[in-house]
Symmetry: C2
Subunit: 384 residues, 2 copies
């Protein structure tokens, strides 16, 4: 059995023993660093057992994690070795499942009967699926703008989908408070267990390659913090020698973290009128934004924003490698082109780009290719 680890605020340093999600200073808390050694095992949960804050409920696992690291020839032109970490083959087809599984393992042990989340996309589907799997009720709060079509892939798992009229931006904080009062455990974007679950991405990468750069699509900041914590713990445990450079990648049309970073601000401000095709990373006021800013400054890591045109181009290039991803997942590749051309990422580097979610999730955004009409008797000509 795991002993109960402490929670620490990465901004003000306050410590907590209870199961809080945010520090009194307003920032997200995180588990103290773990040290350990790897074991033999089929799943990332077993191999890196020492590094989880809660015993993973392996009997209820859906096989999240242990995703392929795919070699790509797309780095060739830039002279870099590119690897694509394909998170689209998780049980609900996005990286969210890693964090959801770990948070759900906690919720079950803590005897919650209901869980919730604030999301309209990947996280909503993930929490719905695992809640159902774990036998818990799920309350999914979505914005009033979300169409029925998009919600089908969420409600199919049997969750209570609640379309909230009013300021959607408030919901992240409101839901945590209400959840505490009502006994509903809200697993929002940067929930501490969720962040821990994402460490598995770093662990699996380190098992296969020693990257110089890792490109991370960044919205709430939960994924970035998780991967960073994973590499840091590997280094502290003596399992890797040097940290890779982690690159926070945002869409230009919604880049509050990159903007604050460039302007040298310590705290970020809400990004007004966000507009980007990369819907899955379009959070105008990321709850882990300040924590990510701090990491970027501490380690000298870059923040890069890319435009919709570049994103669409990169999505097409990735499809040419056989990997159809949602626009948010293509931002890493778009950033690589920018960083490679400007010399920030030098030739010969080993680069990993995180592909966060399946292209099937945002099919309506995809430009269809040309379709040729052909009478069957002329098939031979059409095939030439």
């Amino acid at each position: 059995m795991k002993t109960k680890p402490k929670l620490i605020c990465p901004i003000c340093g306050a410590e907590y023993n209870g199961p809080v999600q945010r520090c009194e200073c307003g920032e997200p808390v995180e588990f103290e660093p773990f040290k350990g050694e790897p074991y033999l095992g089929k799943t990332v949960w077993e191999r890196f057992y020492d590094f989880w804050p809660v015993e993973p409920e392996l009997e209820l696992s859906l096989g999240e994690g242990d995703t392929p690291l795919v070699r790509s020839k797309l780095g060739k032109e830039l002279g870099v070795k590119l690897y694509l970490k394909n998170e689209t083959v998780n049980p609900t087809w996005s990286f969210k499942d890693r964090g959801t599984f770990l948070a759900m393992s906690y919720a079950l042990k803590a005897d919650y009967k209901a869980v919730g989340t604030v999301s309209t996309g990947n996280m909503a589907a993930s929490v719905s699926a695992y809640a159902s799997r774990f036998g818990l009720n799920a309350k999914i709060l979505v914005s009033e703008k979300t169409g029925d079509e998009k919600l089908r892939a969420v409600s199919v798992y049997g969750a209570d989908v609640i379309r909230v009229k009013g300021d959607y931006g408030r919901l992240y904080f409101d839901s945590l408070k209400l959840g505490e009062r009502l006994g509903v455990y809200f697993i929002n974007s940067d929930n501490p267990f969720r962040v821990e679950g994402y460490k598995g991405i770093a662990f699996e990468i380190a098992e296969e390659v020693t990257p110089d750069y890792v490109l991370i699509p960044t919205s709430s900041g939960g994924l970035f913090r998780g991967i960073a914590k994973g590499f840091l713990e590997l280094r502290e445990s003596g399992l890797i020698e040097e940290l890779p450079v982690l690159v926070a990648v945002q869409a230009e049309g919604c880049s509050p973290i990159c903007r604050a970073f460039k302007e040298g601000k310590g705290r970020l401000e809400r990004f007004e009128n966000p507009k980007t095709i990369a819907q899955a990373i379009a959070n105008p006021y990321p709850p882990s934004g300040n924590a990510v800013l701090r990491l970027l400054r501490e380690f000298g890591w870059p923040c890069v924003s890319v435009g919709d045109e570049e994103i669409i181009g990169a999505q097409r290039e990735l499809a040419g490698e056989g990997l159809f991803v949602e626009p948010a997942s293509a931002t890493g590749m778009a950033a690589l082109e920018k960083l490679g051309e400007s010399g920030v990422i030098p030739e010969g580097s080993k680069v990993v780009s995180i592909l966060t979610g399946s292209g099937l999730k945002a099919l309506s955004h995809v430009e269809g290719g040309k379709i040729v009409e052909c009478p069957i008797d002329e098939l031979e000509n059409c095939l030439r």
Copy 2:
């Protein structure tokens, strides 16, 4: 390097050394049985290296195969131990990728410049993706009824999509002939390499459990033949003692194999006016139908058909386990209920059901759940 294995017709016994796809008698040929031993390795391609008819192009792999075997509580009521083989987490989100990868490895070595397939669904996406990955042109022949929306997930990979006007049923055979003439390697539903690729499902299952029954959604028959060949080769190699009972599962609205089986016919007939929600297995004249019939008869295996109502119910139950599958994938679970209740599958049995493809592929068929509207100031009440 692999030596060149022979191809054999499972119906008339004729043997071929060249790369034919169909026997002169009209039936599909298959590779002679392989024997071997398993090795240590990360991928199914490495661990079962002895069993493939062609050297897999591992550098070009997208990480197909090695899918999770998920424990399910859905067998509880029937007193069976149920495992779900989740093929929805393959690179294009269906089992087709296993066969496509192996066939593509052959096409590359045989120096083809173009490949093709006849499909509107999972196989079309899979062949498009891998052709692009392997640097080959792809010709995807779809029926004139296929909508643009559905083809987006295919054309995104850069394939030439050709909408053929005329008798779609003829295309399977026409394409093989034309392909031979034009140097386009057609990887249709029961291409011999494709069938070999599906053996991996049997191999991976056998690594984890010793099943008494395996439930297999059956359309063209390629998947069924592949899994059967896999278990047979494991037995011949002394790696398992007994074969599981393989259950061919079809949708009632398009069940040519089950019908011929029940009527005691040696050859199947075209199923007129097929109509089922399980689109992915709605082939009215399966090219491997007679070969499947022969396997069922030889080993005394059952063929079970299930209705659309049962399929939809099973799809909902699987979603309740956190696994959202396309209707075709739910047929196995629907068949289990039928076979369990009627006592054909006895209590205490270990059963594996194959989940062939992602629910995101047929999202428009899914009945959405209830969505509650809630003003933000009443959120507390809505959450109770």
